[in-house]
């Protein structure tokens, strides 16, 4: 049997929590625990159940009076009261906590309140009397299971298309034109357009192949602007394959040319791409620095779409920095512009990113609602690279809600696409997520099978 994942990562805090509950036995106390996923919460409860007896009370919105009634009973034979709060704070609960906080101390056992990030923020802002009255508070982060943000990558060419069929048709036409085209510059244009189609289809190796061909041509004809575009596309392809340093190398080459040529729009795009790569490398301050440089130029040249994308990508960094409210604010700004511009592809990503922020706040219902909105558009426009990420995120949300079968179903849909697109870096992470999920389902054989698959891929990727 694989070892229990999660609890040991917070063993120090669990130890403090145990001492605190122990020392509060027989008297009232308020201990707040912020943990987003019901699964991880149950892990913590499981840990506590080996040391203490407790009564669990699930509180729904509109049940503030039930809290007061329970506390007024003032009788228990258990060591602790466990309160499981709803995803959102409601006025009745806010009132019960604020106005009857003394009851928690008059009860003959400590109250341990489990809530998500959103509810915790509700306590701090709306029930400050209760917050001030509390005992210790613990912020337990789930063991990191990678979720998939949907960053925007700025490509030199932007193609518009209705659906997958439209893209395939476009690719066939481009290939035909490539065979008959005599003008090198025209050929480069067609190759780069195809590279974007490969990006949308998630075929990054093919994308590199096409970009390298294009790069050779532009160097021959001395087309500096084309050279910059090729570097950008190469950077994007390598980034998607998980080669972040190589991606940065290409983005910097592109930036240098754009700056020399005074191409403001290209410069803004390069800064955004560099921001993406640094975000991947988890260097948030550098990522923010580049996104802001990009945003500044986008504002100067009146590039609304660029502005929107900067907001979206900045939102992802703030999401990574656990500033979810700020992330939501930025994603909503991005979405507003996407809707105004009728940019379906970006609109879908904004939905996905909003879903991710709400997921991190522990508002899983809202997260799933946004993920599904995004997924619908991904399917409509044939954006399979994002579609796979959409399944992945839905898998995460359902795994946290302990609907493991649904989680596996979505993860596997994601796997099918990643196998097709060859995105082995992402495939490895999804395998790990599946392994974790099987472990939660008490299926160590299957968990082991997927863990091995992930390890094999890691070996091949050299990570």
């Amino acid at each position: 049997m694989e070892k229990n994942i999660g609890i040991e990562e917070i063993s120090k805090d669990m130890n403090t929590l145990s001492i605190e509950v122990g020392v509060s036995k027989g008297r009232g106390n308020i201990i707040i625990i912020r943990v987003n996923s019901p699964y991880f919460r149950n892990e913590i409860l499981n840990f506590l159940s080996k040391r203490f007896t407790y009564e669990t009370i699930g509180v729904n919105e509109g049940e503030g009076n039930e809290i007061i009634k329970k506390l007024r009973q003032k009788e228990t034979k258990k060591d602790a009261l466990i309160w499981i709060m709803p995803e959102n704070m409601s006025t009745d609960i806010e009132n019960a906590l604020n106005n009857y906080r003394e009851l928690f101390y008059e009860y003959p056992a400590p109250s341990i309140i489990f809530c998500n990030e959103l509810f915790l923020q509700g306590i701090i802002m709306k029930a400050p009397d209760f917050w001030r009255y509390r005992g210790n508070f613990y912020i337990f982060k789930e063991p990191k299971r990678d979720a998939m943000p949907l960053a925007f990558e700025s490509l030199p060419i932007s193609i518009s298309f209705k659906d997958k069929k439209d893209l395939m048709r476009r690719k066939r036409i481009n290939e035909h034109l490539l065979r008959i085209a005599k003008d090198e510059k025209q050929k480069v244009g067609l190759l780069l357009e195809n590279s974007e189609i490969y990006l949308i289809f998630g075929n990054f190796k093919k994308m590199i192949e096409v970009c390298e061909k294009a790069l050779e041509s532009v160097k021959e004809i001395g087309d500096k602007s084309g050279e910059s575009e090729c570097y950008t596309s190469l950077g994007i392809a390598y980034r998607n394959l998980g080669h972040f340093s190589k991606a940065i190398e290409y983005y910097e080459k592109s930036l240098k040319i754009d700056t020399e040529m005074g191409d403001k729009s290209g410069e803004s795009a390069s800064y955004m791409n560099l921001g993406n790569a640094y975000a991947d490398l988890e260097d948030s301050s550098k990522a923010i620095e580049y996104y802001e440089k990009s945003l500044k130029i986008a504002k100067e040249i009146g590039d609304k779409s660029g502005k929107s994308k900067c907001y979206g990508n900045l939102g992802l960094v703030y999401n990574y920095l656990d500033d979810f409210k700020k992330a939501i604010e930025l994603h909503r700004k991005a979405l507003k512009i996407a809707l105004y511009n009728g940019d379906k592809a970006w609109e879908s990503k904004c939905y996905g990113n909003l879903g991710l922020a709400y997921y991190n706040l522990g508002d899983f219902s809202k997260a799933i609602e946004f993920y599904e909105k995004a997924l619908k558009i991904f399917k409509d426009i044939g954006d399979i690279a994002s579609e796979s990420k959409g399944y992945w995120n839905l898998g995460n949300a359902y795994a946290d809600l302990e609907d493991f079968n649904k989680a596996i179903k979505y993860y596997k849909k994601s796997v099918t696409i990643y196998k097709k697109t060859g995105e082995r870096h992402n495939l490895k992470i999804v395998y790990e997520n599946i392994s974790l999920t099987y472990l939660k389902m008490n299926n160590p054989e299957k968990a082991g099978e997927y863990k091995r698959k992930a390890e094999e891929l890691a070996g091949k990727l050299g990570i």
């Binding site: 009132n95 106005n99 101390y105 802002m125 001030r132 009255y133 210790n136 500033d323 979810f324 409210k325």
Partner: protein, 430 residues
């Protein structure tokens, strides 16, 4: 109110955890063991005591008592009955939430419950009200609350007296509250007249003046609710002929309309947070820091050196809010104990400060941050228009705090815990 046990000075970290609770002091024993007098200018309760004790005969003043969350308000208020001359004053002290549904409060049920509490106080002190008055008062109360229930022995509920039974009904039944509001709508002067008669009878029989202390009215956290209760009814609240101390939501005091209301009350007392740093944050305020240190010395056996040298002052000047400081020491004690340590070091204090800081920071929007920077720079928390409530909300959530130094100077600034975030905030706004 919870009864507290005798507190011994902490000799180890677990005892530190147990001794540092944010619940207010209640009993005479609590006060004699761990109470620390507030720095000079903040001795509001002593001023209030002097004022009440020196009132002219026949004068019945009303006072508003307010303070920011966690500044020690309830403890101070609990001290008043203990220091008033009990040969001259009889105290009726209760919390609004014990007699009313604080989420659904109205001046009609409030005044009826006040009458019942005064009546109950008289009875508890052995007063026999004149029969005619007693019957009339009971009938009045029964009628306005539409009480018909009575058991065979003439008792209400399961052996409750009428006042107890009525208070329970006001507290728990919205139907009863609706009925009272409808009935008293036209008879409120009648009720106030009866309250005044009750006071006269009790004061004459006891030969003492009645002082009513009502705690937790400041808990009306929803602004509209607080505004409705106090601003629409302040004249009624000032009418009963007895000395009353009303706790008052401090957020209302930051509303321009407060100027119209305050004159109906003899005094509005604001219990400030003793400053632990000077106004410019350049050096610690020795008086304020000393106040916090005394609180620690009353709860911890200092010979045991349970807090690392220098760390205590660091913890005090990093929080500067009484309740937060108490929590910080308690949380750090349990953390240090968990680490196998026998004393609190800077490591635990820093970790807890970081946690708390991050938790506050996550709740702030760009608008909040802008306002906090403004408050920090101007040392003043004022909203631009009455409709705008950002500054009020920040004071409510304790991200902004009002301080007072020993000279009695008052100013507002951000919560000291948030100071290290200023540069980051400024960058964000750029």
């Amino acid at each position: 109110m919870s009864k507290s046990k005798k507190m011994k000075k902490a000799k180890n970290l677990l005892e530190v955890y147990n001794n540092f609770k944010v619940t207010p002091l209640v009993t005479r024993e609590d006060f004699s063991q761990i109470y620390v007098g507030r720095p000079v200018k903040s001795k509001i309760i002593d001023d209030l005591k002097d004022r009440i004790e020196n009132l002219e005969i026949g004068k019945y003043e009303k006072y508003l008592f307010m303070g920011h969350r966690g500044c020690g308000k309830s403890t101070e208020l609990n001290r008043l009955p203990l220091i008033l001359d009990d040969s001259r004053f009889s105290i009726v002290q209760y919390s609004a939430s014990s007699v009313l549904d604080i989420n659904d409060i109205d001046v009609n049920d409030f005044l009826l419950s006040l009458a019942l509490k005064i009546y109950e106080h008289g009875k508890n002190n052995g007063i026999r009200f004149p029969k005619g008055f007693n019957d009339e008062f009971m009938d009045f109360a029964k009628n306005v609350a539409h009480i018909k229930e009575k058991d065979k022995r003439g008792r209400y509920g399961v052996g409750f007296s009428l006042p107890d039974f009525l208070i329970a009904k006001i507290h728990t039944e919205s139907e009863t509250r609706d009925y009272i509001r409808k009935e008293l709508g036209t008879k409120i002067s009648d009720l106030i007249g009866r309250i005044n008669k009750l006071v006269i009878i009790i004061e004459n029989k006891l030969k003492k003046k009645l002082v009513i202390i009502i705690d937790e009215l400041d808990k009306l956290t929803r602004y509209e609710q607080a505004e409705n209760f106090f601003y629409k009814n302040y004249q009624l609240l000032a009418q009963p002929n007895c000395i009353i101390v009303y706790t008052f939501p401090i957020s209302l005091a930051f509303d321009p309309y407060f100027e119209n209301v305050r004159h109906s009350f003899r005094e509005d007392y604001v219990l400030p947070q003793p400053a632990v740093m000077d106004k410019n944050l350049t050096s610690p305020d020795e008086t304020g820091v000393g106040f916090f240190k005394d609180i620690v010395n009353k709860r911890i056996d200092t010979k045991r050196r349970l807090i690392d040298e220098g760390v205590l002052e660091y913890a005090i000047t990093s929080t500067g809010k009484l309740s937060e400081f108490i929590r910080l020491i308690s949380d750090s004690a349990i953390e240090a104990y968990g680490d196998g340590s026998d004393k609190i070091t800077k490591k635990e204090i820093d970790r807890k400060l970081d946690d708390l800081r991050a938790t506050y920071d996550r709740t702030l929007t760009k608008e909040h941050i802008k306002k906090l920077i403004d408050i920090h720079e101007k040392k003043e928390a004022i909203d631009e228009t009455p409709k705008n409530s950002i500054a009020r909300n920040l004071l409510l959530s304790l991200t902004a705090v009002e301080y007072e130094n020993k000279k009695g100077e008052r100013w507002q600034d951000i919560n000291l815990i948030l100071l290290p975030l200023i540069d980051k905030w400024k960058k964000t706004l750029e």
